[in-house]
Every structure is written in C-alpha cells, then in structure tokens.
Amino acid sequence: MQSPAELKMAELLVEALNLEDIEAKDIDPEELLFGDGLGLDSIDALEIALAISQEYGVQVKAEDESTRDAFSTLRSLSAYIESNKSS
C-alpha cells in the first residue's frame, strides 16, 4: 500500500517521465525504480531530480551517500524527500 506521500511522489514520477501506460496508484512502493522493476535510466534520474526540485525545493546530489539509497524505490525516494524538504 502506498502512503499519501508515496502516492504524491508516484504521481510526480508518472507526470515527469510520461509513464503513460502506468497509473500512479499501481506503482509498488517496494519495486526497484532502476534496472528491473520500472526500468528507469540515468536520463529519468535527471528528470526526477528536476521534478523534485520544482515540487519540493530539494536539490538532489549524487555525491551524498543518502541519495544513492534514496533512488532505489518509490518508498525510499519519498522518505528521502520527506526528511529533506524545508517545510
């Protein structure tokens, strides 16, 4: 089950990446975003970073140890944003 924050993040992913054949509510929060699972790539990571910056005001940086884990699933990404956003 997605939490409300995870659903919001899923909607952002679908919108930012034009995942037209997927509905936000159907993304498994534990599914891997890259590689197997959703099969996203580095260009998608770039789009996600920009969308996150726009929506949450959080600047994504890959040199942060935490970012590497954050990008593994919808759940981890949502948790990362919740703990890093200013408001």
């Binding site: 990446l17 034009n18 995942l19 037209e20 054949d21 891997l32 890259f34 590689g35 197997d36 099969g39 996203l40 790539d41 580095s42 260009i43 998608d44 990571a45 770039l46 789009e47 970073a49 920009l50 910056s53 726009q54 005001g57 600047q59 994504v60 940086k61 890959a62 040199e63 970012t67 590497r68 990008f71």
Partner: protein, 482 residues
Amino acid sequence: MKNHLNHNCYPLVDRSLDSYIAIILSLYSPLKLNTKVNISQFLGHVYAVAELLPPHKYAINLCENRYLFMVSFCALLIKNQINLLPPNKKLMTQQWLIEKYKDVYVLDDSKLGESINFTSVSESEASGKESKQFVVNILKADFVNAEKIKNIPNIPLNQLAAIAFTSGSTGESKPNEKTWQTIVESSQNNALNMLGNRNELMYQLATVPPQHMWGLETSVLLPLFTSICVADVKPLFPQDIYDALYALPSPRMLVSSPIHLRAIMKLNILSPYEAPIKVALTLCATSPLSKDLAKDIEILFSSTLREIYGCSEIGSMAVRETSKEDVWQLFEGVDFSYQKNNMIMARTQYLPQKIEIFDDVKLIDENHFILKGRSSDMIDVAGKRGSLQEINNVLLGFPELVDGVIFIPKNNSKVERLVALVVLPDSIEVAILKNYLKKYLDDAFVPRVILKTNSLPRQENGKLPLAEIKNIYKDLLKIKFQ
C-alpha cells in the same frame, strides 16, 4: 601535424612531465581529494596498473572514474593490448564482446561507487548466467605510492589501440577500430579545431562517459596531447555539475550534451545558482542543441559555446557557435563531398576509408554545410543514435507478436522516448514483451510506453502511415485516462 609522425612511433603523452593532466574531485578516488596529478605521476599510475594486467589480447574497459579510465586505457596501450569500449555496461554486451573477440578480460574500478548505477543491468540477467569472464579491478594497484616516471613511452603508430562501438540500437553495434596513429592525428586535429589557439592550461569537467566517442575524444585523449587538466568525475545531476565546476580552478572548460545543459538551465530557473561561475569554453555534442539553450548557457557561464558535429566512425568533424550561426564549419583535415545519389561521403587523412554521412546535409562550399535534418530512419533518444528500422525488427522478432510498431510520439519538449503499439494474444502480458525487448535493445531504445491494441492500420503494401498510428495512440491514451 607534428613531424614526429615521420618515425614509426609517437609518445604516449605529448606534454611536459610537470604539467597537470587530472584533478581529483571524486570522494571515492584512491587519490586525495583536490590533488592535481602531473604527467610524471600519471605515468607512474599507468605502469602500476600495467603490472596488474594479464596477458590477453583485449580488455573491456569499464572503469567509471574518468582518471582511472584514462590510466587503464594507457596501461593497455603500453602492454600492446586493445581497449574494447562497449556502448553500455550490460552483461549481454560483455558476453557478446567475449564471444566475438575470445581472448578478453574486463577492467573495472567498481568498488569506487563513484556514481549511482542508474544503468539497468538486470538482476535476473546477472544471477541467471554464471559469469565466466575474468575481471581485473585496477584499484589493486598502489596509486598512492606509485613511482614517478621520467621517460615517456613510445607507442607504435600502427598499433591497434582501441575498438569503439557505436551506440547502435541493437546488440550488434558496429566496431570502429582506432590505431594509435588515428588517435594521435585526430586528437591533434581536435585540439586545433575545438580549442583554437589556446595554449594555457584549462581545467575540464565532462558530464559524458569516457567510453563513448565524444567523451573519449574530449576528456581522455585531448589531455594526452594538449594542455588540459581533466576532473575525474562524471556528474549527472545539475547541482553536482555546478558544484564540480565551482571546485575547478580557472580557466574552466565544460564538455557536455544538450540533455545535461538543459537540466543545468532548468535548475537555474527553479532555484538560481548562488555564485556565478565563469566557464571559458563549453563544448556540446551528441544530439541537436537549440539556439536558445546555447544562448542561455553562454550567458549563465559567460562562456563561448561550440557545438560539435561528429559520427562514431570518424569522431568530431565540424563545429559551429550555435548561438550565433546555423552553418557548420568543417574541421580542417575533414572533407565532405557529394557522391552519386546525392549521398555525402566524409574523408579524413587519419582514416583509410570514406564514411557515408546518413544525415540530410547540404554543402554550401567545401568548408561549410547546413544540417537540414537527421536521416528519417536514424533516431536520437537521450543522446544515443539508433535505427528505427532495426528497433522495429527486434519487436517483430517477438514470437507471440501478431503485429506491432515502435515510433516516436513527439508530444512534448522533454527527452523523446519511444512508444510501441502492439497486437498481442490476450494471454501475453505487455511486461513479457518488455523484458524480451530489454534483452535485445539498448536501454534507451526500449519503448517507454507499450500499449495493446486490436489491430494496426496496415496498407496493402504493408506500410503503416505515421499519422494514423499517432491517432490510435492518442485515442488509446484517452480511453485509459477517462
């Protein structure tokens, strides 16, 4: 061209021993953060890695860290082994290379964790097949205590140095062989045409991979022959790119692609960068750059932006200042000429054969041309070029497929992704087809969206009118989101 070429060898590096070739910005490097590496230290690292190398003919060079890639590349050269530069890091690709070249091992720096691995080596692919290849991790070399070397080794000009593979759409990407002579002459030519008369040391940041032609030419080979000190990182996110540029001394040079430049500008609009950075020269290639984006980058970085046109077979061939001009100027030493059927062939002094240019090019005079369009079959997804026909052939090879087509929807300003419309038996899930495509296609060309439909509007001659396909696609989306 320099006269060393009269001999049968040319030095591995054409720079003074105390000049800087690399600067360490990666937190995961075996070398200390912010250190600059001079040629003498660099050669020490090359010999230290060369000692690790097993006696085989070929090595797949997968090093991620740009400096470690450069060291490995040169270590292979002094051992007379050949760098295989794959279009991606997929296991499938490695297996294909091993089958093709046999006497192969893999060079890797994987414990570095220098960047998040956003490439999709699939788990099932990794665990399903027992990997037989022989992997050498170059971090076993002692970088910190490596001896400084005062003698620059010479490499025979006819030695095969590297085989670069085009980012072709299917696994069967085309090998482009580069002898040391080709590398020396093309790099000297690139220095002249990309950098002009600059002689002062420039600090270069590149956002593109060292294994691909554009990154190889600019961030690995140029520093061997001209005054460039290259950062060892490959930043992806715009904030990382900005921070890395900020960490570099002046004068700075940025080597990038339209995708990364667009992200830099977009983040600047969302939250303007705090400190202004001056970048003396920005070079951009891999896919077409818009005039507006070129202007914006020049203003943001107080920079001159040169866009480079090239192909995998030859490398960089032409340049323009995109903010000011539409016309491309051919590099000195590169000629385009019309052949029969109005085909354009490119020729350089450093490649024996002529190369066909597939794009729609109009020659203005012998040194200038206009790029009217890309060839209709050749598509560009996320900076990778592939043949739409080859991609469709892979789709049509899916055993259960009744009918199907892959195309570019061209529906917004974001990075274009491919879409597939397929007719499949009810029992076959789209996910099964997607996994099949992932096995045979480069990630960039796997359709992002695959939609099932009942039939496709094939004409009697078997052709599918694009306009009708797009209409079906739009209708399917409407139904889905009603």
